[in-house]
Point group: C2
Chain length 217, copies 2
DNA sequence: ACCTGAACACCGTTCAAGT
DNA sequence: ACCTGAACACCGTTCAAGT
């Protein structure tokens, strides 16, 4: 009557409702109405169950169609990864330090590398570009405070505005914008575009050098 | 005979040697040769002790001198933050989701915002730029696998090279570069430069518009 | 004032036992 | 074959008691 799928689904639902701290084997079992030890008949350990859950969430990332210029394609791919991370915020925590080298997670890597190499980046440049975009996107999700109904934001604003103005002139003046940027999701796009600007400039430099090698020397 | 300083020092040393998983109140007390409950005479909770430790580590970030052009200054500041995060890798984990709004941590924010505003960015642009650079830098540290003596890397290489080539053509071809980029520290610099490229382009666009408004229209 | 062992309510997991 | 309660070795922290 029970299955790995069903257990993973329960973990996802529990994670979205209660966050990653509430993710205990006892809580998952209670959610399903079974004994705690039943779970160990389907997964060897909690780590294995969490990996399966992250893998399940990674399957929800839709790979954009492979036509059109590289920049909007890459942008769409990362906006989609970003959206998927917002959908299951706890998932980010489960991917820290240990790389997820599973098919669903690697689908996005394959898509990204293929876009970058088709655009003309070398293999080394493509992997570094992927890494930069990945780290920025996952870092943004990991370092965005958990959903709070605004009371925390008022606290931060009070704290920042209340700093000694002679020691923190820029920060006290920008307190409002800082809190907004820290907690809002509007802050993802700009950084993504700046990274893409840098990649585009790298490509433009190489194209210019290839077309006019004498000028490049 | 004991002090908050001494306890924090013990946590830092324990974290560097054993990682963040080994950071238990019992282990910290054993390290100091005192009873576990003694620690609660100096810190109200484990969270408070961990915050104090992160604050202590943040004090180790040296703010670069405030002269010279904005880009190398900002670059030096983030290279220094990056270095400090490598020095105490566990610290990154302790800063997840909960922002550290303490004097030592905010010193770096103040320095960054002041560089950006002096360069000519608006307050909103400056906070977004700071956020992007912060998220990239901390994300890089958080998503770099813990120090492993190379055996893990060989495992990853085998795993990536062994993927089905028809489904993962770009990834299997770039397996070597991917593993290198994933585990090496050489991957921090390029992303930082791409972000700075984007910021520089933004500034250049505005300067051009201000100097020749007719051409910008 | 400063320190601390025992105890409580948790946790992941092993083991032996149920059907 | 599938499920599970009891028990073990942990955790952070409360409490009452030591000096």
């Amino acid at each position: 009557v029970l299955s790995r799928e069903e257990i993973v689904e329960a973990v996802l639902s529990l994670a979205d409702r209660r966050g990653v701290e509430g993710l205990t084997m006892r809580a998952v079992a209670r959610e399903l109405g079974v004994g705690t030890m039943t779970l160990y008949g389907y997964f060897a350990s909690k780590d294995e169950l969490m990996d399966a859950t992250v893998e399940r969430a990674a399957e929800g990332v839709r790979i954009p169609a492979d036509d059109g210029p590289w920049r909007p394609r890459l942008r769409a791919l990362f906006e989609e990864i970003h959206r998927s991370l917002l959908e299951h915020p706890s998932g980010v925590r489960l991917r820290l330090e240990r790389p997820m080298l599973t098919p669903a997670a690697l689908r996005t890597t394959e898509a990204g590398l293929s876009i970058l190499e088709a655009a003309g980046f070398s293999r080394r440049e493509a992997t570094r570009a992927w890494r930069a975009l990945f780290v920025y996107t996952f870092g943004h999700a990991a370092f965005t405070p958990a959903r709070v109904p605004g009371s925390a934001e008022r606290e931060w604003l009070a704290l920042l505005s209340g700093l000694p103005g002679d020691e923190f002139p820029a920060l006290t003046a920008a307190a409002g914008e800082a809190v907004e940027t820290m907690s809002g999701e509007a802050s993802y796009g700009p950084g993504l575009d700046w990274l893409l600007d840098g990649l585009e400039a790298l490509l433009a430099r190489r194209t210019a050098a290839a077309e006019g090698p004498l000028e490049a020397g």
